[in-house]
């Protein structure tokens, strides 16, 4: 199960590997076509680093769960992810007195409140957990903690349930209210986006690795200068810097939500279509 430290380690390893590859390329030179490949790979790398650095997301998830448990005052909180291969929920984040004990548990889908929420895609509140047949009493007994009240919300991304966010033991009230459900849903939504962007980042990192491996294997020893110049001038490269600035803008929009990102993508695509369809002002034609 990836933790914040795992994510940081993974990010560092990827960066180190990329630096080594760039160094290798620098020493061997490259031809223009390879320079293009490299530019593309590095653009992807910078985009993913800006939009979705895994280490940032690990911390962000932790902070989402902590903030949710503070805003909706609760004694404990957990965030589970669905392992679709084994059809189980695995703990990603656990807060509270029994956090360490909880982390080793895997909960079958459909089992307990969290398991039911995962399969139904609907939030659930339980106010008298001990006497509620939906509660996974076996897990509670093994951990040694039976909460009185539970609020559980699905993490939905792109219409798929990818996990659940659960709060335990509402402070200051005997049960979670319908308002609490809606509030937690907003946190769950943020967590789902953070998780998916993090996953995207990891898969793009792998893609970049593969692209760079393919690129380096095509190099010969003749020493082409395109990639070398590109790498040396990277920081001064106007296109590269503009790409980073644009990526920064897109990142800001992406954090607002999937709908906003889709809208942004749609606007950009439409604008490109408009630009490509626009009649060149210098051209001539018949007047209708």
């Amino acid at each position: 199960m990836p933790t914040t430290d795992d994510a940081l380690t993974e990010a560092r390893r990827t960066i180190e590997w990329q630096e080594q590859e760039i160094e290798r390329l620098r020493s061997r030179g490259a031809e223009n076509r390879i320079s293009e490949d490299l530019r593309h790979a590095l653009s992807l790398a910078s985009l993913t680093a800006t939009i979705a650095a895994p280490s940032e997301h690990g911390r962000l998830l932790q902070s989402i769960v902590e903030t949710a448990a503070r805003v909706i005052p609760s004694d404990a909180a957990s965030l589970f992810l669905i392992d679709s291969t084994t059809e189980e929920l695995i703990f990603e984040i656990a807060l509270g007195q029994k956090a360490e004990e909880v982390k080793s548990f895997r909960v079958p889908l459909g089992h307990g409140i969290a398991g039911l929420v995962a399969v139904s895609g609907q939030p659930m509140t339980v106010s008298d957990v001990e006497h509620d047949p939906r509660h996974a009493s076996d897990v509670s007994q093994q951990i040694g903690y039976t909460p009185h009240s539970i609020l559980c919300c699905p993490l939905v991304y792109n219409d798929e349930v990818i996990g659940v966010l659960e709060l335990l033991d509402r402070k200051g009230a005997p049960a979670y209210s319908p308002e609490d459900i809606e509030t937690l849903w907003y946190f769950a939504n943020q967590a789902a986006i953070a998780l998916e962007l993090s996953r995207t980042s990891r898969s793009l990192s792998r893609l970049i690795t593969a692209a760079m491996q393919a690129t380096s294997s095509r190099l010969d020893e003749s020493g082409m200068s395109g990639a070398l110049r590109f790498v040396e001038n990277l920081e001064e490269d106007r296109v590269y810097r503009r790409a980073l600035e644009l990526a920064d803008l897109v990142r800001e929009i992406a954090w607002r939500g999937e709908d906003e990102l889709l809208l942004c993508e749609g606007v950009l695509r439409d604008f490109i279509r408009y630009l490509t369809s626009r009649v060149d002002p210098g051209s001539t034609g018949e007047h209708a």
Binding site: I82, V119, T125, P133, V156, D159
Partner: protein, 274 residues
Amino acid sequence: MIAPRPAYSDPFGPESLQTLRRLEPIEDITPEWAWGSGTGAGVKVAVIDSGVDAQHPAIGGRVEGYVAITEGPDGLEYDTRPHDDVFGHGTACAGIIRAVAPECEIYSVRVLGRMLSGRGNVFAAGIRWAVENGMQVCNLSLGTTKQAFYQTLHDLADSAYFRNTMLVTAANNIPMPSYPSVYASVIAVAAHAESDPYRLYYNPAPPVEFGAPGIQVRVAWRRGGYVTTTGNSFAAPHVTGIVAKILGQHPGLTVFQMKGILHALAANVTPPVD
């Protein structure tokens, strides 16, 4: 010479025009008129959900028919043998319906299971099965947020509407539109916090048109148990039960008539001020 008729206008020709019985003036509709001492007897109600446990005391051993739909290697599979409730959710809904309309005929259409993929197709197949098998009311305390199913479910909801099959749907519990609850052709329901099972509210700002009890309600669950729970899922069956009772007294109502009756019965719809 007889002028040619435009397409779709045949039902209004002199030979084919049907005479129908009009309803009482809508402002005079009362529960006594709407269902009186009716029990929903003979009305077919599909509970499209996780299954219904017929042996639960709240169901009283009476489930008239079953179909469990799953996605198999060669497409959808329909198993009409009696089945159990996978989670308890379907039994909870059926228990509410049974309490409101004790003699309605409950059919368990099981579309929820532990599988995570293919659920949209199975769900759509459940509605299609209900419409094609003469169900008069369907309780849909579930839905999908998947855009991919928007059109399929919209078409199904329309076909149900035109066949006078009432689709009573729970609105989503989270602020995301779920299908088919946002369509005009269904009777969409969300929860209010009162306990009178017959207390309806009308919402003049759809898509959710009706409110029914669904907050901290005691419902049947698996293995003969009961739970106290909250959700729009449990508001919809209250309306399903009321619709079944009304249909028992007034067979053949259309969906738009039913909506008019429910509107007239809503506690927040008051007589005009003179």
